[in-house]
């Protein structure tokens, strides 16, 4: 795919996303909004798993931290939604450092186990603490407003999530192609060599983990006000796995791939709804076939990068005399 086609394709997708609420019914708009949540969560996890190569099996925990922070601050203390965002981001980054600092020194496999445990701890805490509303969760979370305009309809939240998703995609793709993003790639490729080249691996991994945590928690904040009720069930291990699935299915480290993966993970089971109880079986079989025939993902990072580079460096030919 040439750089111009890629650019055009992206513009077309954005146009389709903007027009969707005007042609879709509420049911599919709700599915699309959920898909956008997954796009954001997928990009956050993509930094951790795709860029830095750290396996995180408890990513939904950060989603929960954001949702509960907003839920509690708004219902108990009457805070404005927008003020809960920085608090949630700080809390998530704090949790990220607390979990990461002792474990990121270890190899990736240990991190996977610790993050799995962390995800469960957060969920079980939410079930048992009274401030998080125990098993029934928090309800009656107020709607946010901006300049006197309250977000209330499906459409409002869809557009809010679309804007957030675009901002997150832009930020993550710029990070990926910066000095920081390259440092993550070096660590993913060969930790010891990266360290020998002057890259502090523990610090850089911690950075990846914390930025991923912040993105996850911000998605959680919006999730809380969109649903207006949250319960521990939304932050289960399966949730973590579905987000990871979006990343792996789309293509580790590929921005476009992860966005595509997120949409598919949400949309496919819905489309298969007519197949009744067979739908998850079909979905599962499709995934297995995918992993056999296209393990690098639907839209692998290499292809995406090649297209971006051709776009960026029209002079790329000069260094290759052939």
């Amino acid at each position: 795919m040439g750089p111009k086609t890629t650019k055009l394709l992206r513009l077309l997708l954005l146009a389709a996303a903007i027009l969707l609420p005007f042609v879709s019914n509420n049911y599919w708009l709700d599915v699309a909004t959920l898909a956008l949540f997954y796009v954001v969560l997928g990009q956050g996890l993509n930094i951790v798993v795709g860029f830095a190569g750290l396996l995180d099996l408890g990513y939904a925990a950060f989603f929960a931290v954001g949702a509960y922070t907003t839920g509690i601050l708004m219902t108990v203390y009457g805070w404005s939604f927008w003020l809960t965002l920085p608090v949630a981001a700080l809390l998530a980054a704090g949790f990220g450092v607390v979990i990461g600092a002792p474990t990121l020194r270890l190899r990736s496999d240990y991190l996977a186990i610790v993050t799995l445990g962390f995800g469960e701890i957060i969920r079980i805490l939410a079930i048992n603490l009274s401030i998080t509303g125990s098993a029934s969760g928090i309800y009656g979370i107020p709607r946010p407003a901006i300049g006197g305009y309250p977000f209330s309809s499906q459409k409002d939240f869809y557009f809010l999530m679309l804007i957030i998703a675009c901002l997150v995609i832009a930020a993550v793709s710029r990070l990926g192609r910066s000095r920081i993003g390259r440092a993550w790639a070096y660590i993913r490729e060969d930790e010891d060599a990266a360290e020998a080249m002057g890259i502090d691996r523990v610090r850089m991994k911690l950075l990846a983990y914390s930025i991923g945590a912040i993105i996850g928690s911000l998605a959680g904040c919006v999730f809380a006000v969109k649903m207006s009720a949250i319960a521990p069930l939304s932050f289960s291990f399966m949730q973590s796995i579905m987000i990871l699935l979006a990343v792996v299915l789309g293509g580790l480290g590929s921005i476009s791939g992860v966005a595509l993966g997120a949409v598919l993970v949400i949309a496919l089971p819905e489309m298969l709804r007519s197949a009744e109880e067979w739908r998850y079986l079909i979905f599962g079989a499709a995934l297995i076939l995918m992993m056999i025939y296209r393990p690098q993902g639907l839209w692998p990072a290499g292809q995406e990068q090649a297209a971006d580079e051709r776009e960026a460096a029209g002079d790329g030919a000069k260094s290759v005399p052939m």
Partner: protein, 255 residues
Amino acid sequence: MAILSVQNLTLRFGGVVAVSNLSFAVEAGTIASVIGPNGAGKTSVFNMITGFYQPSEGRIRLGDDDLVGRKPSEITRLGLARTFQNLRLFPNLSVLDNVKSGMHSRTRQGVWGAIFRTGRQRQEERLITETAEACIRFVGIEEYAGRAAKALPYGAQRKLEIARALATQPKVLLLDEPAAGLNYEEKEQLIRLIGEIRDSLGITVLIIEHDMGLIKRISDKVTVLDYGRKIAEGKPDEVLRDPRVIEAYLGREEA
């Protein structure tokens, strides 16, 4: 003046003494070598100098800085770069991206600059690219710049590792068996390249090597290790005539 010095360096793994009470110094602007039979402890010495192993005893100094107890990344920042005995490139990344890694510790741009593409960030990116390209040209692999590291011929991969180390702008460059697996022509190129690193970049070089021919031609000073101890030291011709060195390599002659 010694730019790199090792004093009473000892490394024990449990009961095994890999390096024993080793001292040597490398003068600034020279090419020094450490040689010795397999298992003599050469790579262990390298790993201690670069912070990958912690010595059981002893001191290591680079200029005025004490290196013992520091992380490898910190040591690189202080001006010491290395290559690995069995090539440790970033295999799936392009040659250019591989070499850019060396500039990490020489630049500062963080998350903020990356997300907002600030003027300073773009300026730094240009500097990183220019430096990396200069290093690639210096070792002579510019024809491969856009290719993935793993797709390069072996000899070019060796040169790429040197280019990557040079991009850290070191005071001292440590080469761990740089000639291993190279053919005659590539070895000649390597000898020229190492000479240029000293003469035109002014970087001090410390080499571990098996290839005696190479050592003889480019070293200003040779340190010989056997069973983790220093058994000889001096100019290459003298050292290689030393009976203890010959014995270490060829075994004792039975009378």
